[in-house]
């Protein structure tokens, strides 16, 4: 008999007149790792809020640990003992790991805090999962992975029976993700339940027993057993699949690249050690950071937060800075939140990158009118008269990327462009990046998780924690490890190519035999 830990029974939640969750059904069993795939993320925040707090609901029932905790009749607004681990940490900085786990909890009644005892209490838990971590370390000094592990341990020690992990793969490297999965499986065997939210089904297939597809505030389907086959799951993302397939088919053989648009010349900074790379026009390169520190250093260098110890970026042989350079653009993580200026109009936001090419853009109605005319077809006529708060997520993504396109840079660095995006937005970002490539702009994607990026890439550059570099060209993507997304497409492609070669060889041979040219 299966024990139900959490259940939502046809829950409807309305926030500010908008239906966020509608007839939402979900159950999680004891010791289960359940996946949640946001095909469309509308309502996801409301769902996560509702997990943590028993907010008023319009209809339905919420059960946790066998008891009714929330219903349309009565919502106590009290917090559930459910932990949500996500980008935003719930640990208190300036305090140690043990303080966060043991002291900052309800029911801690000791008047004297004895760090030694607390550390010895934490020790067996760390040993159990094979993690080497100083219990007296302050939270702000922890790496992201360590922070995630500490939050997970806190939930386990406090006896939370359901732990939610929201898009963790965008926070930590692949190697760390493997370790985390191992820890999760370990605790699942001990009866803890997990809800693992990720937009990448390759990740979910490897880890979860069941996967619920979340769309428009409803659970569209729960996949289990034979349906969890990767081949079968791929059918659910058919549109995306065919889009990538078409792109790969349109990519011909490698042509002459010409001179690089940007050269990274012996760059050293923090964990980056003498990094040498070349980027060419119209080429997409994915830089996968196997370690979180490398990722931090690279983003710091691109955004101007860090300075190179030695080496530099070079354009046409001249040393340049990326930050503030009009020939280069950086698209930050979650750009719809970090790169838009809500007090400025749509047009001002759009033309921001254009002013260096057309200084009169702010006063010239003629230029603005022609931009409106040209981009209205792509973005829609109405958006130009809308306030920024009125734009939906899709329109915001379009605005950011179109701004960069208007700037006409020679190279664009995208920091985790697919982070936080649901399936439909990932497809949109993918198309926008493809548009940049078609305009012969070099696109460099900084990623922790390969997921969508690999489908656009011509080269994959892996930077290890020791600064070592491994470069893999598209022809060899089929040989990437089993969990690499879109690998099957590259394998198909390489098989086709091999078949093509065999076919060509056969024709050549036959022609020779027949004495034809």
């Amino acid at each position: 008999m299966r024990e139900e830990i959490f259940r939502m029974e046809r829950v409807t939640r309305i926030e500010r007149g908008m239906v966020r969750l509608e007839d939402f059904n979900l159950q999680v069993y004891k010791g289960e790792i359940m996946g949640l795939l946001p095909v469309n993320a509308h309502g996801m925040t409301a769902f996560l809020n509702l997990l943590q707090t028993n907010l008023p609901i319009r209809d339905g029932y919420v059960y946790y640990g066998g008891g009714l905790v929330n219903s349309w009749k009565e919502s106590g607004r009290e917090a559930n003992r459910i932990s949500i681990i996500q980008a935003q940490s719930c640990l208190v900085e300036q305090m140690t790991v043990t303080d966060n786990i043991f002291v900052l909890r309800q029911g801690y009644r000791q008047r004297m805090i004895r760090p030694g005892i607390l550390q010895s209490q934490l020790e067996p838990f760390l040993r159990d999962i094979g993690i080497d971590l100083a219990a007296d370390c302050r939270v702000e000094k922890l790496s992201v992975f360590e922070r995630v592990v500490v939050e997970l341990l806190k939930a386990v020690i406090l006896g939370y029976r359901l732990i939610v992990l929201n898009e963790i793969s965008t926070l930590i490297s692949s190697r760390e993700l493997c370790k985390l999965h191992h820890i999760m499986r370990h605790y699942a065997k001990r009866g803890f339940s997990f809800l693992y939210v990720s937009p990448h089904f390759e990740e979910l297939v490897q880890l979860c027993g069941r996967v619920a597809m979340f769309s428009h505030g409803r659970i569209q389907k729960v996949l289990r057993g034979a349906e969890m086959d990767e081949e079968c799951l791929r059918g659910y993302v058919e549109e995306y699949d065919s889009m990538v397939r078409a792109h790969l088919e349109s990519c011909g053989a490698e042509s002459e690249k010409g001179a690089p648009v940007l050269t990274v010349d012996g760059l050293t900074c923090g964990s980056l050690n003498r990094l040498n790379l070349n980027f060419y026009a119209g080429e997409c390169v994915v830089i996968q950071n196997m370690d979180n520190e490398v990722y931090k250093d690279l983003t710091g260098l691109l955004t101007g937060a860090l300075r190179a110890e030695t080496g530099c970026f070079r354009m046409e042989g001249n040393p340049v800075e990326i930050c503030g350079n009009r020939n280069a653009a950086v698209i930050l993580e979650q750009p719809t939140r970090t790169m838009l200026f809500p007090r400025m109009s749509y047009m001002d936001n759009l033309c921001m990158g254009l002013s260096w090419r057309m200084p009169g853009v702010w006063n010239s109605f003629r230029i603005q009118k022609s931009i409106r005319k040209e981009y209205g077809k792509l973005l829609g006529e109405d958006v130009f008269d809308m306030q920024l708060e009125e734009l939906d997520e899709k329109q915001k993504y379009q605005l950011v990327y179109m701004r960069v396109l208007l700037q006409k840079p020679r190279i664009v660095f995208c920091i985790q462009p697919f982070k936080g995006a649901d399936m439909s937005h990932r497809m949109l970002v993918w198309k926008l990046l493809e548009m940049m490539l078609n305009k012969k702009i070099a696109v460099v994607i900084l990623a922790l998780n390969l997921a969508d990026s690999i489908s656009l890439a011509e080269r994959l550059v892996r930077i290890g924690s020791d600064g070592s570099i491994e470069e893999i060209s598209r022809d060899h993507f089929g040989t990437l490890s089993g969990d690499a997304p879109w690998r099957y497409l590259y394998r198909e492609k390489s098989v086709k190519m091999t078949d093509g070669n065999v076919f060509r060889d056969f024709h050549k041979k036959t022609a020779e035999e027949l004495g034809r040219p």
Binding site: M1, E3, E4, D59, W72, R218, Q220, K221
Partner: protein, 350 residues
Amino acid sequence: MREEYRLKYICNRVLLLAAAVFLLLLIQAAAWLLRFLQGGTGLWQGLIHGAAAGLYGAVYWFWIIVPYRKGEKWISHFLDGYGIPDSREADSFLLTPYMKRQIEMAEKVLKAPGAMDFNKRQAQYLALQNQINPHFLYNTLESIRGEALLAGLNSVADMTEALAKFFRYTITKVENLVSVEEELDNCETYFRIQKYRFGDRLRLHVECDEEDREDIMNCRIPKLTLQPIMENSIIHGTELKVGTGNLRLQFERTDSRLIIRLSDDGVGMDEHTLARLNRKLAGEVQTASYQEDGRQGGIALVNVNNRIHLIFGEEYGLHVYSVPQKGTDVEISVPVVASERQLPNRGILS
């Protein structure tokens, strides 16, 4: 001004008056305290008036406003079509004795055995409709004839037996709750009949947790729960699909619930249709006139769902999951009941 805040409603007038009294008490308290602060007397009067205001506010809040809001939520939930709440829950917020009678009357009408009878009759009607459905009969008899022509008399006998068994179960069984085993048996009989029509194009897989098999098979569920859903899956799901259709019937139980899932890998439905169907399933018990729009599809599901709501309560029922071109899952959730005597609401079965 928003409609619900207008003074034409008595509740708003009462609220206004109460707020005025509360403010008056507060002003008096403040005036006395001000007098005291200016060097005069009045500390005690100020404190007494303040305490009276606090007490009045607290009593008014917990005694009047909180139950009133609860009542408002209860009624709006009903009016928005989210089901019929239990009238016993209304005791804490009754406005007048007449309101109590009014609520009881509404519940009596909507949850009366008559409503159950209506749904039962409808379930039988749906099943009978199949029996007299010319296509159903034609196809079945055609299959029998074909089999007879091809000589295998055993299969003709088998088919006829299946048909008879199915008719007998549908028509003669008068109990309201039957065991899962009986329902499953009827489903398999129905499937056998359909199999003669679809041949290898249709497959049924039954899955059950082995350790709980006995428990699950003894659980009681409303009669004609599974067969209408299976029929729905065949007609709207697998029949329209090119190639082999698979039906998967899964049983599992938790400590308090029995979950039956019927999945097909048919054509599925779009998000909008799915949302509309689930809304229908979550909504109130529908009357005959309301159910007319069931002609658009899903009437069998709504009927099964209504009977589950009426017998076991609104926490249980059906929920549908579907993805276009991938298939549909219908999940039935009922409490674990081994005998009709365990039902708090067994009067409805009579």
